[in-house]
Structure formats: structure tokens, C-alpha cells
């Protein structure tokens, strides 16, 4: 049973190596990738069932025990996220089959599958790493894979976006590594558990070093997760990637930095003095900037995918803001919003991808009356837009409920007001698009054609259904998340 914890990472990692070796021709790469992802999803599902009540599974690599050995640890928090991440991946890989073969040459195709799997391995690893250094290694794995997926489309804007992302990501990696070494310097530990016990004494002895380390870690991961104003790489990177890749990058990859920070600040560093605890509050202030300015930028975009990318900046702000008050209710909302945004933004990028695949249109102004050709896609897009605004019966509403409740419980009505204001701004850039799509008059009558291949339509609809299910019956998810939030806060 313990092996499941490591299999979660090992399965996609081995898939990533298998594809370039034996998946060279035809659809074999796709089949291997899909099989791998399904296997990972099954593994994550089992883990979720085991850990849903709050206990954790630890795996010691090579049976070397901490403090020296490497530990992988899956608890309710990481299994909840792994479950959704891997199932979203199933949808994205299914969607890719038709979309990507259209855009990439066969030689680049197998690298695409390989990098997608590598990205998944990195993301799941970030959730299950139990020491700082492995957290760093997995962070780098997913960052490099993410850059690779952007640049796999051999075009100038993709290459430039990938390079920009890579260089900023390297700066972030430098900050993180320096932060980790400073922490190790004062505590002598990297494993989360040992760190939590050793940190209070170390922080009392050398408070400034600990503060510097925490600041470096926060900067690094904030940059990886595109927290305002460190988000400058995101719009280029996410809009120039292939649509399914954008779905994964925007829906899942940016969350890895948040997951790492949640873990560090909510449990590992929470024993340390007030000055360290003040860091989330500082991140919360930046989050407010992201929620307002991201929304303003999103409103001025003319390109559909760029608008969606800026909307990600806004949603990241929500998560950080809810996290910054550090209480269980808000944290429940924040974790739920990680998942909800992953589902919603994944679906939005996939439906944008379907629209681009089918009509070649990606300018917002060209989408007038698009629903006449693609009603199902537009339905999914509408659900996504409503989820982003937080309309009841969509999952976005549930996470917003907990986030607002949590911020009010923490005595910060101003934060609640900002969350709601930003929702209103979301309505301002999503709803005109939806209205234009449904009720605008198309420039020229289009011949009746099927909306898209089923392998592209079904993932979009599947994610839409998941959004509605989580919105209408959130009970089970909330129960698991309650356990996850308590685990995370060490209660």
C-alpha cells in the first residue's frame, strides 16, 4: 500500500521515458500517454479513498528513513489535488489526440506526449514531496517540462515565451534554492516533520536568517505561481502554447507553486515566530493587486487565450488572498478553488481550443454568434464563465462561499469585499463574450458541420459536468477538504 505514494510519481515519470523510446510512430505515443495517465488517475483515486479521512501514507525511498532519507508523503491534501489533477489530465490528453496532431509534426509529437507526462510527474511530486529539497527537484521538473511544452510548438512567439518563462523560472529556482540552504543552515533539517520541530529554536537564535529564507522561498514560489506582480511571464506563455497545453499550464502548473507555499506556510513554518507568519499576509496584499489589475488587463485583451491567461492571474489572487488569512474555513475555500479553477480554466482553454480548431478564430471580436455553430462548446464556455464569476450551482460559487466566509471569520471584511469586487470584474470580461457568442450575429452564415470530433467534445463536456456536480453536490469534497485543511494546519 505504501508503494502507491511513490507510484503516483513513478508511473507518469516512466511513461515520459517510454513515449520517446517506443512511441515513435503513429498513435502509439498517444496510447501510451493515455494509458499512463489513466493508471496514474487510478492510483490517485485509490490514494484519495485511503487518505480521505485524514491519515497519511509515507514512502521512504530505498528504505532510508528521515532525517537523511527521502520521504514521499501523501495526505488528504495532496491526494485530493492529485485525484483532480490526474483526472483533468485524462481529459486533456484525450482532447490532445486530435488537436495536437493537427498542429505539430510527428517528430515533435512524441516530445509533446513525453513532456506532458513529465509535467504531471512534477506536479504530483510537488504535492507528495516531504522534504524541501525534493520539493525543489520536483518544482524544477515541472518547470522545465512546462517550458518544453510551450516551445514544442516551433514558432517564434512560443519560443520567446518559453525562454522568458525559463529565465524567470530560473531566477525563481535560484531564490528557492538559496532559501532552502539558509533554512538548512540554521536548522540542519530538510524533512518537513523535523523542520517543524527544529525551526522555533533556530528562528529564536537567528531570526533574520529565517526571515530571509522565508522571503526567498515566498518570492520563488510566488514567481512560479504567477502572483502579481511576478506574473509577467504568464500571459505570453499560456496564450502561445497549444490549447490543451494551455489548459494544463493555466489550470494545473501554476498551482504547484501555491501547493508548495500552502504546505510550507500552513504546516512547516507555522511554528515559527510572528514575523514568518506575516509573510502570507504580505502575499495577500499582492494578491489583491493581482485580482484588480489582472482583471483590468483581462478586460483590454482582444485575444481569447490571452484574456483567459489574465483571468488566471486574477484567480491565483483569489487563492492567495483566501490563504493569507490562514484559518481552516478560508483554507478549505482556497484548496477547493485550486481544484475548481483547474476544472474551469481547463475547460475554458479546451473550449477555446475547440473553437480555434474548428473555426480558426481566436480574436474575441470574431466570436459573434459562434454558438450557432458550436452550441455545446459554448454551453461549456458559459458554465466556465459562470463558475469564474461564482454563480450558484457552479463550483466557483462553493469555493467563493468558503473563501468569503473564511475571510469574514478572520475579521477581514475588506478581503471579502475585494473577492466580490473582483468577481464583478470577472463578469465584466466574461459575460460580454458569452452574450456575443450566443446572441451576436455571425458575420457570414456558416455551413452546417459537426461541432468537432467526439474525442475533443467529450473532454470539454466531461469537465463541464464535473464543474456542475461539484457545484450542486459539494458535500463529499468539502468533507475531504475539511480533513485536508486540518492536516495542513496541523490541527
Amino acid at each position: 500500500m505504501d508503494h502507491l505514494a511513490v507510484l503516483l510519481v513513478v508511473i507518469p515519470l516512466s511513461g515520459a521515458f517510454l513515449v520517446p523510446m517506443i512511441g515513435r510512430q503513429g498513435a502509439r505515443g498517444y496510447r501510451i500517454a493515455l494509458g499512463t495517465v489513466l493508471l496514474t488517475a487510478a492510483c490517485a483515486t485509490t490514494l484519495l479513498i485511503i487518505t480521505a479521512r485524514g491519515q497519511a501514507i509515507s514512502y521512504f525511498v530505498g528504505d532510508w528513513r528521515p532525517p537523511w532519507g527521502i520521504e514521499l508523503r501523501v495526505d488528504a491534501f495532496s491526494s485530493f489535488l492529485s485525484f483532480f489533477f490526474s483526472w483533468i489530465y485524462v481529459a486533456v490528453i484525450t482532447f490532445s489526440a486530435r488537436d495536437v496532431t493537427h498542429d505539430l509534426n510527428p517528430a515533435a509529437l512524441r516530445w509533446y506526449w513525453s513532456l506532458m507526462l513529465l509535467l504531471l510527474a512534477g506536479l504530483l511530486g510537488v504535492g507528495s514531496a516531504a522534504d524541501l529539497f525534493n520539493l525543489f527537484v520536483f518544482t524544477e521538473i515541472y518547470s522545465l517540462a512546462a517550458c518544453g511544452i510551450i516551445s514544442v510548438r516551433d514558432r517564434m512567439d512560443s519560443l520567446e515565451a518559453a525562454l522568458k518563462y525559463l529565465l524567470l523560472s530560473a531566477v525563481a529556482a535560484g531564490c528557492i534554492l538559496l532559501g532552502i540552504s539558509l533554512i538548512y543552515m540554521v536548522t540542519g533539517h530538510l524533512n518537513y516533520g523535523y523542520l517543524a520541530t527544529a525551526l522555533p529554536a533556530a528562528a529564536a537564535a537567528s531570526p533574520r536568517t529565517v526571515l530571509a529564507a522565508v522571503a526567498l522561498l515566498a518570492t520563488g514560489y510566488a514567481m512560479k505561481s504567477a502572483l502579481f506582480p511576478l506574473h509577467i511571464w504568464l500571459p505570453d506563455a499560456h496564450s502561445s502554447a497549444l490549447s490543451p497545453a494551455s489548459a494544463v499550464l493555466s489550470g494545473l502548473a501554476v498551482k504547484a507553486g501555491i501547493i508548495a507555499l500552502f504546505r510550507l506556510f500552513a504546516s512547516v513554518l507555522s511554528a515559527s515566530p510572528a514575523v514568518v507568519r506575516a509573510m502570507p499576509a504580505f502575499l495577500g496584499v499582492l494578491a489583491v493587486g493581482g485580482m484588480i489589475f489582472g482583471a483590468l488587463f483581462a478586460m483590454t485583451q482582444t485575444d481569447l487565450k490571452r484574456m483567459l491567461a489574465y483571468s488566471t492571474v486574477v484567480q491565483i489572487g483569489y487563492i492567495y488572498l483566501a490563504f493569507s488569512v490562514l484559518n481552516p474555513v478560508a483554507l478549505t475555500g482556497a484548496i477547493l478553488h485550486i481544484v475548481n479553477h483547474a476544472l474551469l480554466k481547463g475547460m475554458l482553454f479546451l473550449s477555446a481550443g475547440l473553437i480555434i480548431h474548428r473555426t480558426g478564430k481566436r480574436r474575441i471580436a470574431d466570436l459573434q454568434g459562434i454558438a450557432r455553430q458550436m452550441p455545446l462548446t459554448m454551453t461549456a464556455f458559459t458554465i466556465g464563465a459562470m463558475g469564474m464569476v461564482g454563480i450558484p450551482l457552479t463550483n466557483g460559487f462553493v469555493s467563493k462561499w468558503y473563501m468569503v466566509l473564511g475571510t469574514l471569520e478572520a475579521g477581514q471584511p475588506a478581503a471579502a469585499v475585494v473577492i466580490l469586487l473582483s468577481s464583478l470584474l470577472s463578469a465584466l470580461y466574461y459575460f460580454p463574450l458569452v452574450i456575443a457568442g450566443w446572441f451576436g450575429s455571425p458575420p457570414a452564415p456558416e455551413p452546417a458541420q459537426p461541432e468537432g470530433p467526439p474525442s475533443m467534445l467529450w473532454p470539454v463536456l466531461g469537465l463541464g459536468t464535473a464543474c456542475l456536480i461539484l457545484g450542486v453536490i459539494p458535500g463529499p469534497a468539502i468533507r475531504v477538504l475539511g480533513a485536508a485543511a486540518r492536516v495542513l494546519l496541523g490541527q
Binding site: 454563480i391 450551482l393 464583478l424 451576436g440 453536490i473
Partner: protein
């Protein structure tokens, strides 16, 4: 009446669910058999109305019907139906039935009819649910279920003006719902519960409590068309198809006022508001709403726009009634909901007939309509007289109670506002009636009035009946409704209003 015997029943849940199932069925059936779809939607609305009336005996005995569906959403759905809720729910279902019946002819040959009927039923579900909600959370859910699909009704014509109006409506609705959301969460945070039906949830006055109150007033006032948050209303209501306008103006804006009523009496509570004096906020805004809404209505020459502004004026009276905090005023207030809903839907349906048969929207061109469309204009006149408060019609009964309530509450000045409302109503309704009945149509080619609005040419078909039966019957029923209840001795809507006011005051 024994106090608040609670009967557990899931009939309210079925009342909400039925139209949604009907909407889906209508949409699917309508793809192939439009005629079946038309009648299916009527049957669904009728069944909903019938179902709501099955609860009448229990309500009459003073019972409260409760029900819950715990699995949905973070807090679960609860229903709570008392006299007030019952009056409005059954009214909603009946008016929806009439509007759907009216639509059968009105919408014939229009585009997107399938969508129209489906969304009409979804909004019915939302509106009925709003009146039956047992807690703020359920209220919010149904409020949204009504408000957002209503945007599709507003945008139905798909003209640039309709799209603009719908966007404005949508943004203000979302802004309002976010305000409501904030206040709801804040209430939950302060009181630990959002259940309605008590004597007040908020424990003590504090800045955050006032913020909560303000959020509720803004959110619900926006829906109710309260000045200065009414901007969406005069744009949205006229562009919708007439039966939809009737529902928007007749019922949907009432949900905002209804929500505010519940919030004031059951979330904050009578003593709380009397102690803090926060109800004065509502009072002042309501007087502004009455005066401004009615005054602007006088300046409008597009019939549907004039009716929309008139709705704003009437909502002012309703808001005034709940702000007065006296039992008599509240009785009049609840009856006003009823009176205005019936009269205003009737007026919009009449406007629909006028628009459909003559293509005219500009009231300066209405000369001779009294001869041309006698039944329509008589209905119009009756409904207009109701809103002016001419005895012995419904409007008089409610305004009388309201005015007496204002004296009861020791604030006789507000009775003047009601008087002003009646007079302004007369100023903008009577000319329409006078023109229609007593003016002779100008010879063709000569413009009447300064700058006539874009109106179609008169289609000269003098021997034709003025409209089909499915259009005339709903209008006639509503017009009779304006008069019959006030004249009949067993005025059960008034009895229910009294019961509702008594319950809210003496729990």
C-alpha cells in the same frame, strides 16, 4: 388561528422542480413538435399553479409549510411557506400561466421560440422558489435562478438595443447578487444561521451589521428598481417580448421587495430596526423612488417605457410600506404586491396587443385605439385606474391601508407621498386612456405630436377581431382581478395579507 403549526411537505420542492423539468421537456419536444411544446408549457405552468393551490387549505388554517432538500450546495435547500409566501407563490404561478397562454399567439412566428418557452419556465421555477425559500441561502439560489435566465428573455429580440439592455441588466444583477452574497455570508458569520421565519438573526448593531443591511438594501433594491439603482429597469423591461415584460415588471421585481421584507422583519427584526432606525434608509429611498419614478414616467412617450417607469413608482410605494413598520401598513403593503402584480401584468399584456396589432409604441399616436381595440383598452383603463388608487379597486384598498398605516406609525408625512404617487399615476395614465377613447385618429401622413417614435404603419384590417382568444382571455382575467377581489366580500388576498402582516408582527 393557532400560531405557526408546521407541516412538513415537499410540495414546495415539487413546485420548483416541475417547471425545470417542463423547461427541459419543452426544449426537447420543441425541436420537433412546436405545437406540442406550446401546450406543454401551458400545462406545466398550469400544473404548477394547481399544485400551489393545493396548499391553500393548510395555509388558511395558519399553518406553515416547511420542507428541506439537504444534499444541495454547502448549506442545503430549505423551503418555508407561510401566508405571505403562499399569496405570492400562487399569484406568480397564475400570472405565469396567463402570460404563457398569451405567448401562444404573441410568439407565433417569432425566432427562438423554443428558447423562449424553456427560459420562461426556468424563471417561473426561480420566482416561485424565491417566495418559498426557507433561508437566505435558498432565497439567493432561486433569486439567481430567476434573475440570470431572465436576461435571456430580455435579450430575446437580439437587436443591438436588446443586447445592450441585457448586458446592463446582467452586470447590475451580478453586482447585486455579489452584494447579497456578501451580506448573506456576513449574516451567517454573525448569527451562525441564515434561516428565515424568526424574529431577527442579527444579535447587535455594529458597523459590519450596518454594512450587511446596506448590502441587502442595495442588492434587493436593485432588483426592485429602487432609485438610484433602477438604471437597468427602463431599458430591460421594454425591450423584452410583452408577456416577458409583464412577468419582469409584474412578478420578478417583486422578488426584490419581497426579499427586503423578509430581511427587514426576519433577519434584522422589528425591534432591532426600531432601535437603530435603519428602516429610515428604506423610507427615504422609497419616497425618492416614488417621486422620481413617477415623474420620469410622465416624460416618456414610448408606452412600454412609461409602464416600466411606472413600475419603479409602484415599487416605491411597496418599499415605503415595509419601511413604516406598522401592522396596518404592512397589510396594505402585502396587498399592494398583489394589486400591482395583477395590474402591471395586465398593462404590459395590453401594450403587447397594441404593439402586435397596430405596431404602435408611441402613445401620441394612440388616437382612436378605443374604437379599434375596445376590449384591450377597457382592460388597460381598468388596470390604470387600479394603479391610480381609484375606489373601489384593489389599488385603493392597498393605498388606503398604507396611508392609515403611515398614521399608525406616527409618520403621516409619508401618506402625502402616497397621495403624490396616485396623482402622478393619474397624470401619466389618464392621457393614454383619453387619447385612445376620445381623440380621432389624424389623417394618414400627418404626424401627431412633436417627434413620433418609430412606429409601424397601421395595418388597416378593420373587420378583424382585435386579437385571438388566448391573448384576450389572460388580459380579461387580470383586468377582472383588479376589480373582483376588492369588490367581493370574501377578499381572500386581503385576508392573507392581514394574516401575513399579523404573523410578521406577533411571532
Amino acid at each position: 388561528m393557532n400560531a405557526a403549526a408546521e407541516i412538513y411537505s415537499l410540495v414546495p420542492a415539487i413546485i420548483v422542480l416541475l417547471p425545470i423539468i417542463g423547461a427541459i421537456a419543452c426544449y426537447l419536444v420543441g425541436l420537433r413538435w412546436p405545437a406540442v411544446r406550446d401546450w406543454l408549457s401551458v400545462v406545466t405552468a398550469g400544473a404548477t399553479a394547481a399544485l400551489s393551490f393545493t396548499l391553500f387549505p393548510a395555509i388558511q388554517e395558519g399553518a406553515v409549510i416547511v420542507g428541506s432538500v439537504p444534499i444541495l450546495m454547502p448549506l442545503g435547500l430549505t423551503f418555508r411557506l407561510d401566508a405571505l409566501g403562499f399569496l405570492l407563490t400562487s399569484l406568480t404561478a397564475v400570472i405565469w400561466l396567463l402570460a404563457t397562454l398569451y405567448s401562444l399567439t404573441y410568439m407565433k412566428g417569432e425566432h427562438g421560440v423554443n428558447r423562449y418557452y424553456a427560459f420562461l419556465l426556468v424563471t417561473l421555477s426561480g420566482a416561485a422558489g424565491t417566495f418559498m425559500a426557507g433561508d437566505l441561502f435558498s432565497f439567493f439560489l432561486f433569486f439567481e435562478l430567476m434573475s440570470l435566465p431572465a436576461a435571456v428573455l430580455v435579450i430575446h429580440e437580439e437587436t443591438p438595443a436588446a443586447v445592450q439592455a441585457a448586458l446592463k441588466y446582467l452586470f447590475m444583477t451580478v453586482a447585486g447578487s455579489l452584494m447579497f452574497f456578501f451580506s448573506m455570508v456576513a449574516t451567517f458569520e454573525m448569527a451562525g444561521s441564515v434561516a428565515l421565519g424568526g424574529r431577527g438573526l442579527i444579535p447587535e448593531a455594529s458597523p459590519i451589521a450596518f454594512l450587511t443591511f446596506a448590502g441587502f438594501v442595495i442588492a434587493l433594491g436593485m432588483k426592485a428598481g429602487m432609485v438610484p439603482l433602477h438604471m437597468w429597469l427602463p431599458d430591460a423591461h421594454p425591450v423584452a417580448p410583452s408577456p416577458a415584460s409583464a412577468l419582469l415588471s409584474g412578478i420578478m421585481i417583486k422578488t426584490g421587495a419581497y426579499g427586503l421584507l423578509r430581511v427587514m422583519y426576519e433577519v434584522f427584526g422589528l425591534e432591532f430596526l426600531q432601535a437603530t432606525g435603519w428602516n429610515n434608509v428604506v423610507l427615504v429611498l422609497s419616497v425618492v423612488t416614488i417621486l422620481l419614478g413617477s415623474a420620469v414616467a410622465v416624460t416618456q412617450y414610448d408606452l412600454k417605457r412609461r409602464l416600466a417607469y411606472s413600475s419603479i413608482g409602484q415599487m416605491g410605494c411597496i418599499l415605503l410600506g415595509m419601511g413604516l413598520m406598522s401592522e396596518r401598513a404592512l397589510t396594505g403593503d402585502v396587498f399592494y404586491f398583489f394589486a400591482d402584480a395583477v395590474a402591471k401584468s395586465c398593462l404590459f399584456l395590453c401594450a403587447g396587443v397594441i404593439l402586435k396589432t397596430t405596431g404602435k409604441r408611441d402613445i401620441r399616436q394612440f388616437a382612436g385605439l378605443g374604437q379599434r381595440l375596445p376590449v384591450t383598452m377597457v382592460c388597460f383603463t381598468l388596470a390604470a385606474l387600479t394603479l391610480m388608487g381609484i375606489p373601489p379597486l384593489n389599488g385603493f384598498v392597498s393605498k388606503w391601508q398604507l396611508s392609515v398605516g403611515a398614521f399608525d406609525a406616527g409618520m403621516p408625512g409619508y401618506a402625502l407621498a402616497l397621495l403624490a404617487s396616485s396623482m402622478l399615476n393619474a397624470v401619466y395614465y389618464l392621457p393614454i386612456v383619453m387619447t385612445a377613447f376620445f381623440d380621432h385618429p389624424a389623417p394618414a401622413g400627418v404626424a401627431v405630436g412633436a417627434a413620433p417614435l418609430a412606429g409601424g404603419e397601421e395595418r388597416a384590417r378593420p373587420r378583424q377581431p382585435e386579437a385571438s382568444a388566448t391573448m384576450l382571455v389572460p388580459m380579461l382575467i387580470l383586468a377582472l382581478g383588479c376589480a373582483v377581489f376588492a369588490l367581493s366580500p370574501g377578499n381572500w388576498p386581503l385576508r392573507l395579507s392581514e394574516a401575513a402582516a399579523r404573523v410578521l408582527f406577533s411571532k
